[in-house]
């Protein structure tokens, strides 16, 4: 068991405040993904948990023990780096055995653990090779194997798949998910790729410029983003944002207009809002109803059509507001056609002018 508790942690690089009062509780054996754009502090967060960066204030504890001043090796963690960071002069076997060798384990135990990890990762055939003789995917397996052999309580992954090609990334993603089930260890995973976050995570932590923007299960974040940043970050293609105005408020819904074309009553509320306020209406491309009736609708010319086979994306525009709508794969719609898009009220999000979501 290894719960990780992060309590009002701050980190500065010189004058730059990169982690701002972050508090997080990570449950034992969960798979938590830290996600966010470059420079949001997610890697720094991971490196502070690993003990590779000092913490300026606050505490990090693993399994109830404050680890602020412990070196990495005493934290019972293992880390997988983006560049794999294999020891280039050692064979695959020695790479995986190195941590155990430093712990002065017996030869038999080292052999057993390395072979076990190699079996799990299917790299038994390359144990005597040097990292240079391996492909990117194989190197990544060795890097993961090096982490497994030490049987740590916590696995830390720093963008481990971002150097792999797309096909391999999907394959490794599935294997990581399987591995998490097999090892029953706590895993913290940093990525900027929201697909990896959605597919792997029990919990996603969205970081934005050093603060936790939202933490929750993938579907929670997808369905009920706390703010525009999370709404825009999770999901691909991105959520559409349309500027709008509050026409009226009732006890359980807020009525807004859609670009002056129609009105829609959305079952979301915000106590601080009032009639006439500017708001953003957010709706995902897959929720728009193309050429069908819905709670509110709007018509536009199609500027670009992207056919992906399983789905088609239509790029629409009105008064400088871009909008992407998803429709079926074999759609007959062509560039220049006018389409009617419907807005199902239950799928719409509202965000106030500071980006906070209506509940």
């Amino acid at each position: 068991m290894a719960d990780i508790n992060i309590n009002t942690v701050n980190k500065y690089f010189g004058d730059v405040h990169v982690i701002k009062d972050v508090s997080l509780d990570i449950k034992s054996q969960s798979f938590t993904v830290l996600v966010g754009p470059s420079g949001c502090g997610k890697s720094t967060m991971l490196r502070m948990i690993a003990g590779l960066e000092d913490i300026n204030s606050g505490t990090i504890s693993i399994d109830g023990q404050v680890v602020n001043d412990l070196p990495p090796k005493q934290r019972n963690i293992a880390m997988v780096f983006q560049s794999y960071a294999l020891y280039p002069h050692m064979t695959v076997f020695d790479n995986m055995a190195f941590g155990l060798k430093l712990e002065k384990r017996s030869k038999d135990e080292i052999n057993e653990r390395v072979n076990e990890a190699a079996r799990i990762l299917q790299i038994e055939d390359y144990l005597q090779r040097k990292p240079k003789q391996l492909s990117g995917g194989q190197r990544q397996r060795v890097a993961i194997g090096r982490a497994i052999t030490r049987k740590p309580k916590v696995f830390l992954f720093d963008e481990p798949l971002s150097n792999l090609d797309a096909a391999l990334r999907v394959q490794m993603r599935v294997e990581l998910a399987k591995l998490h089930n097999e090892l029953e260890a706590t895993m913290i995973y940093v990525t900027h790729d929201q697909t990896e976050a959605m597919t792997l995570a029990d919990d996603i932590v969205v970081l934005d410029t050093g603060i936790v923007s939202q933490k929750g299960s993938p579907l929670e974040l997808y369905d009920r983003p706390n703010n525009m940043f999370v709404g825009g970050f999770i999901g691909s293609p991105k959520m559409n944002f349309i500027s709008s105005k509050i026409l009226s408020k009732s006890s359980d819904a807020t009525e807004v207009d859609i670009m002056g074309m129609s009105k829609i009553s959305i079952p979301k509320m915000s106590a601080s809002s009032s009639e006439g306020d500017s708001v953003s209406l957010g709706i995902r491309p897959e929720h728009l109803v193309v050429n069908g009736d819905s709670d509110g609708s709007w018509e536009s010319k199609v500027f670009v059509v992207e056919k992906l086979g399983d789905v088609t994306y239509l790029y629409l525009e009105k008064d400088g507001e871009p909008l992407v709508a998803e429709t079926e794969g074999h759609s007959e719609i062509k560039v220049g056609d006018t389409v009617k898009v419907g807005f199902p009220a239950g799928r719409c999000q509202l965000f106030d002018s500071s980006g906070q979501a209506f509940k």
Binding site: A50, G51, L52, P71, P72, K73, I77, A78, M79, F81, Q82, S83, A85, L86, Y87, P88, H89, F98, G99, L102, E103, K132, R146, R150
Partner: protein, 304 residues
């Protein structure tokens, strides 16, 4: 119409002409003419028209006695001196060079001062360092003797540079002082190029300062160290200036180059001196080939 690859080849050949001319005239010609000279009886009187005498400058049996460079005990003494000098000075330079490089890595406000201080001995001309050490080690007025007498280790000044027991040690120390910076720069570059994530992976795996150096840093900078050893080794085997400046006549420190120079320009035995020079070239060549084979330096690219 010529194909692109033919044109490229022609361009390459044109660019190679200047360096080929320079190499032929500055390296190959002197080499061949020395080789030829070593097979003649050239001395000052007949330098322009020497007689071909075969290999007698190398080895000759005349009335039951052996003559020639290979039979001269002073030559073999100079070979021994050269090898002793090279082995010890290069070893010391590698140890000091790695230490200096590690010190240069430390990031603090003094780092520019430290880097400059490490490099200065390398920038000082050999004649200056030789005279400087000579004066410091001088038996009557040298500061080194003054300090040793002052703290009571010796009773009276010792002539460190001319004493047969210490002159070789002195020369090795001066050379190490002078050229460790060169090794330090090469190793420093190697250290700077170390991938940071690999060192961090080591920390996560549990390395401390010593195990990190022993298991990760040292093996990874080994290629840089091997390059430094080859450069310094070849330099040390050809050592001339320092030994000539400290004590040109002493057989205790005489190197192969000093021996060859003495035969040629002091005794005007050009043929004999050329034979000694040729032997010097051969010995260095053999050592270099063995070393490069052993360290697999020519396969560095595959090694990494």
């Amino acid at each position: 119409m010529k194909s692109v690859s033919q044109l490229r080849k022609r361009t390459a050949l044109i660019f190679l002409i200047p360096v080929t001319i320079v190499l032929l005239s500055s390296a190959l010609y002197p080499l061949i003419s020395t080789l030829y000279l070593s097979l003649t009886d050239a001395e000052l009187e007949n330098f322009l028209d020497p007689n071909y005498v075969g290999f007698i400058n190398y080895l000759e049996n005349y009335e039951g006695m052996w003559y020639g460079v290979l039979a001269d005990s002073l030559f073999w003494n100079s070979v021994r001196n050269t090898i002793v000098f090279s082995v010890f000075s290069v070893s010391l330079e590698v140890i000091l060079g790695i230490s200096f490089a590690l010190i240069m890595l430390i990031e603090n406000k003094l780092k520019w001062f430290v880097r400059a201080a490490v490099l200065i001995p390398w920038a000082i001309p050999t004649i200056v360092s030789a005279r400087m050490f000579e004066w410091m080690l001088q038996d009557q007025f040298g500061i080194f003797n003054y300090i040793l007498i002052g703290i009571g280790i010796i009773e009276q000044g010792k002539a460190w540079t001319t004493d047969p027991q210490t002159s070789m040690i002195v020369i090795i120390i001066i050379d190490a002082w002078k050229t460790s910076p060169f090794v330090a720069i090469l190793v420093y570059a190697g250290l700077k190029a170390l991938p940071n994530e690999v060192l961090e992976a080591g920390k996560v795996d549990g390395t401390n300062g010593i195990t990190q150096f022993y298991y990760i840093i040292f093996p990874l900078i080994l290629p840089a160290i091997a390059v430094a050893i080859v450069f310094r080794g070849l330099d040390a085997l050809r050592v001339f200036d320092l030994i000539y400046l400290i004590n040109a006549g002493s057989k205790d420190i005489m190197s192969m180059t000093v021996y060859a120079r003495r035969e040629m320009f002091e005794y005007s035995h050009f043929g004999f001196g050329a034979a000694a020079s040729t032997m010097l070239t051969l010995i260095i060549g053999v050592i270099a080939v063995i070393f490069i084979q052993r360290t697999r330096l020519h396969k560095l690219d595959e090694m990494e």
